[in-house]
């Protein structure tokens, strides 16, 4: 444990042995001698991020998005998205779709067979899917991964 101001922060070591990415709950690898840790009997399984992010491995893809049309839906510019093709889209899901041969990420709604793709930024207009357009939902966005240091145009608000 390290003390940083008033926050207590536990350091978690990320093991990488080529196996799934695991975050151990308790890092007791440095215990050298003496009494065995009383926590040993309470060790849980490691956290597997892959298991959390990927429910259907054969049907899951990772993509990168740039641009700000979904900025109000936690999708920064840029962001990594987990796309699960095995999940059926329901209203208000964020989906990866193709419209006239181009990929786009938008909110999906389907009321009375009128499909609309909605942006999450007032600068952009909804897309109505009408006859004569080619359209398909590739998959549902199940997770958004953001790397704060790489995000464009977002700064902390100044203290008043």
């Amino acid at each position: 444990m390290k003390e940083l101001g008033n926050d207590k922060i536990q350091l978690l070591r990320i093991k990488d042995n080529g196996k799934p990415l695991l975050l151990p709950f308790v890092d007791n690898t440095n215990v050298k001698a003496g009494f065995p840790s009383p926590a040993d009997d309470y060790l849980e399984e490691d956290i597997d991020l892959k298991k959390l992010l990927i429910k259907h491995p054969a049907a899951t893809f990772i993509i990168k998005v740039t641009g700000d049309s979904m900025k109000d839906a936690f999708i920064s510019d840029p962001a990594l998205l987990i796309i699960d093709r095995a999940v059926r889209p329901v209203n208000n899901d964020i989906v990866l779709a193709t419209v006239n041969g181009e990929f786009t990420v938008k909110y999906y709604t389907n009321y009375k067979d009128q499909i609309k793709l909605l942006p999450a930024n007032e600068k952009y207009k909804p897309i109505d899917i009408v006859d004569g357009m080619t359209f398909s939902v590739v998959g549902v966005v199940t997770f958004v991964i953001v790397e704060p240091r790489k995000v464009n145009n977002v700064r902390p608000r100044r203290l008043q």
Binding site: D16, P57, T66, S69, G101, E102, T104, V105, T134, S136
Partner: protein, 418 residues
Amino acid sequence: MFALVDCNNFYASCERLFQPKLEGKPIVVLSNNDGCVIARSNEAKALGIKMGAVAFELEDLIEKNGVHVFSSNYTLYGDISSRVMRTLNEFTPNIEVYSIDESFLDLSGFPNLPEYALTIRNTVKQHTGIRTCVGVAASKTLAKAANKYAKKNAPNGVCVIDTEEMRKQVLTWLEISDVWGIGGRLSKWLLTYNVKTAWEFANLDKEWVRTKMGVVGVRMIQELNGVSCLELEEVPPKKKEICTSRSFGAMISDRLIIGEAICTHVTRCAEKLRKQESSAGQITVFIHTNSFRSNDPQYYGTLSIPLNTATNDTTELIKFAMLAFNRVFKQGYNYKKAGVIVSEIVPETQIQQSIFDTRQDRSKYNKLMDTMDLINKKMGRDKVRVAAAGFGRKWRLKQERKSMCYTTNINEILTVSN
């Protein structure tokens, strides 16, 4: 009951997955070295582009019709293939992956096979984006036939042979040369006996076939008659031999450059050995000139070196490969291809150390290899390599139109501008 699930225009479909613009457009995929056509979309087939056609002879046609041309991207195809196979595996535990784009499934005991087959097909499409055709029948050979029939004649991509009429309909439609196991020569020979269709073949006199074609022929006939003789081969046998070879992008006569190619091939072989936890007791190096250029002087050099102690250590294998290479290499030829074969493969755990072993501390080298594999896995192939494999890669494949490795390399994933 067996099902054969076969992906439609697999390589072309993989390319299209990440470029939906290409839906409905003609696509061809070229072989290693961009030499000839190895895969076509339906639109390219409709233009009359033949399998195996030489790429540069097609230039006009490609230009005029806006055909999209890709170098083969086996990293992508391999990953999409494994996704398809994993999806299929959800439908039955018993599956034989027959090739990169087709699998046999054991569907014995499943009710309502036409509907089940359709569910399989729709799920694979939904989960992976790849379209398939499914043929279901009582034997593997019949399932193959049903699949061919589905591809040509079934709008829903499914054909189930569950009645005598259906079997007759499929087999009378199927040309003899398209029967599984009957190649070009055999079908020509059968044509001289006026056997034109699978149906005519299936109804030949068994004894006559036994004397002319042996048990293999009889087995084929039984399979076509719905008697299953071929089991699913679920576990691929561990490889007895691993070969890595490539044609060069251009003719090469330089000893150093070919040596680098050999070292890189050894590196690949050693990686494969370590992956399947085995070691090789022999290494073979071969190099040869281009036999199609009949005006050039021709040479084919090969040499095998038995190893005292079986190994999967890249540095050690390279040492012996170079020994062999320096013996077989001859100055003054234009080389087209170089390759390495490792054989006499034994499990890592069963290595007998020779008393003449020149390497003292094998465990130290094992650690080195593990570390190298780990770094390369993390940082990308060949980040750490034996210096003999070189840095120039002048011998490298021509792959001018290769698409991204969308599913396996984080730096090449699909980017959507939104």
